[in-house]
Amino acid sequence: MMTPDSEHALAEAVASATSPIRVQGGGTRLIEQVDGDVLSTTGLSGITLYEPGSLTLVAKAGTPVAQIEAALAAENQRLPFEPMDHRTLLRTTGTPTIGGVVATNASGPRRIQAGACRDSLIGVRYVDGQGTIIKNGGRVMKNVTGYDLVKLMAGSYGTLGVMSEVSFKVLPGVETSATLLLHKLDVSGAVDALSKALGSPYEVSGAAQCLVKGITALRLEGFEESVSYRLAQLRNLLVEYGDMEELHGEASEALWLANRDMKHFSGVEGDIWRISVKPSDAPAVVASMPTATNVFLDWGGGLIWAVVPQGTDVRTPMGRISGHATCLRGSAQTFPPEPPVMAALSEGLRAQFDPRGILNQGVMG
């Protein structure tokens, strides 16, 4: 295992590599078996710059997520996109790093309101497949200078370069959060209620449905008086959906932590899929998986988590529904195959960024 302790050493390690490299942060988000010598970014750790008044944080790629969240919390700020911790779902151990968050574009329930990791990411430094150090973006939140390789690096799973440093736009934290729970809705009823809430002016920052338990959850965040006003408005809006219940403070926060990290799937057997569609297609997708043993909807129904018996094909039954399914745990191909013209572009990008094809070979096709 290589653990370079500086960006320069990282560049050297890649440049001098003669065989495939498996890029790794904390190793908690492994979704694909990759051959090669492990190149760990954990030696590159620490917050390089944090300016609360500018809403900006810059950190080395191997910095533990927990360290960043603690630094932000001390100033009552946070990462807007609520990065998911994959350890429960993937049965991994280790310490999640911020580089891993970026490489997988890991985003939580607040994605519907505040965007994904890629939306908060404003700068990257990375080492390409030939060992060249590249920077793109920077530390300011409005920047259209040159092509946006920042977004390209987010969610590229280490196949285009090894990140050494990442910059974020952060947001103020909130005074309080509250959750409105609806009961006994089926998938259509739940998506209907979630859409109604998300189409309201009440700034819903979480919209999820646990199908097994039949619980629909809507989160509101902000200043105390604002949250209680919006909670009352939301109750009026959703009165037709039956009995409601409220969670406040810690109870509300605990629920969304569980939703963020998919703790509902803790200990389940079978394959785990993550499906992205438009919310109104969620009922059809759920219907296409009759053998699913557990299904959880987030993002108002636009993100479907499903547990299915080992080896179940989830993609084919989706048919012509627009969207895509990722197999996070199981034997199916992780990412859906790309249409030929897109596959050619992806191949082209990899050939430019990593001409020797040594970085996380095969992960993205």
């Binding site: 300016e51 409005k142 092509y147 946006d148 920042v150 002016p201 919310p279 572009l345 960024f353």
Partner: protein, 480 residues
Amino acid sequence: MEMPAPDAKIMAKKAMLVNRLMQVLPKDAVIHDEFETRAYECDALTAYKCPPLCAVLPATTQEVADVLKICHEEEVPVVPRGSGTSLAGGALPTADCVILGVAKLNDVLETNYDDRYIRVQTGRTNLSVTGAVEEQGFFYAPDPSSQLACAIAGNIAMNSGGAHCLKYGVTTNNLLGVTMVQMDGTVIEIGGAHLDAAGYDYLGLICGSEGQMGVVTEATLRILRKPEGARPVLIGFDDNEVAGACVADIIKAGVLPVAIEFMDRPVIRATEAFAQAGYPDCEALLIVEVEGAPQEIDSQLAKITAIARKHKPVELRESTSAEESAKIWLGRKSAFGAMGQINDYMCLDGTIPVSELPYVLKRIGELSKQYGLDVGNVFHAGDGNMHPLILFNANKEGDLELCEALGADILRLCVEVGGCLTGEHGVGIEKRDLMYDQFTPEDLEAQMKVKDVFDPKWLLNPAKVFPLTATQTRRARLSN
């Protein structure tokens, strides 16, 4: 600003090219008359003009594909054009290019309020996207100042922002899917109505690529429900530095206003003379706007004014009605027009870390004196996106060059303090030759390699974004 010499081989085959284009487009969609092509000789950066070889106005994605296929075969450069409102020369033609205007592609294809998106053809103007959904209480968030005229195609090309992006983000944060035609005529679909597109983030890559990777003909955009209301507060200070500190304190307090606008004395005076908005005569003015239900607005404004009072403002005017709100915004919205009344001006667009605001304003003042040209500042303070307006006289020999030199120094200053050359206008030709001030040759090479993948012949929107010296080898390879 230097542009590459037109290719004589291409100039010589104009008649043949026009003939081929007329075979795939209606006759009136091919503009080749030397007088009529002048309509396309420049965009909103009017200091630079060059009539194209011809201009085409396709009305469907298929027609766009047909045009690009022909130009690809003939190896003719293509400059895509939205509404031509670029301040950076993003749609400036070369004499040997075909201008591909998307103005005829302006339909709404689908609106879906349950899933909160709209699909439009990209020639549609920014404001008319909101226009299509506002009856249902929705809006499209990015709001560049040119929103009445600018096209979604150009918004995507430049990743346009606006006054409200502190809360809602810029174009790239609101774009869900595109139909794009590649230079060889291949039509590709990326993303859709779902929130995260599969594979690499091609949407993120295309957004802000200044029309150099393909021609986007359709876009799926996220729409949002309008807030119940919005109200601004006007805060005047005797000192730029104090105004800057007030901005930082508001942000640190956990209030997230939807907009924080900043104007300095030269701009305040000019707009007051022009629009009589009733602004106080002071060193710096902030307009801070918050959104929500009436009582939410009240409580947020109370927090903001409490913070502002600690900084001893010379004026603090909280809007209590729609009329007062309109009056507070009146001056800000007419600022550019007001400056244009007193002089020609060049509008810069650098972004800086918000913490550097006082220092940068002080340095701009010094540079202004050094060059002998006045500079007014009006900008989005919450996100650090500056818009220094350099006043000059276009009819005075050498003044434009002097203005450009001052502009370059101000942009270098933005980079020096940790910012960038452009926050929302794009590089175009305007900032092209300053790119080495922000990027290393390796950084630029990495970007150009992406262009190699999407447009191997480098035909799309030539001579923009990258310094000509950086693209020299690639251009030489192609002209042989």
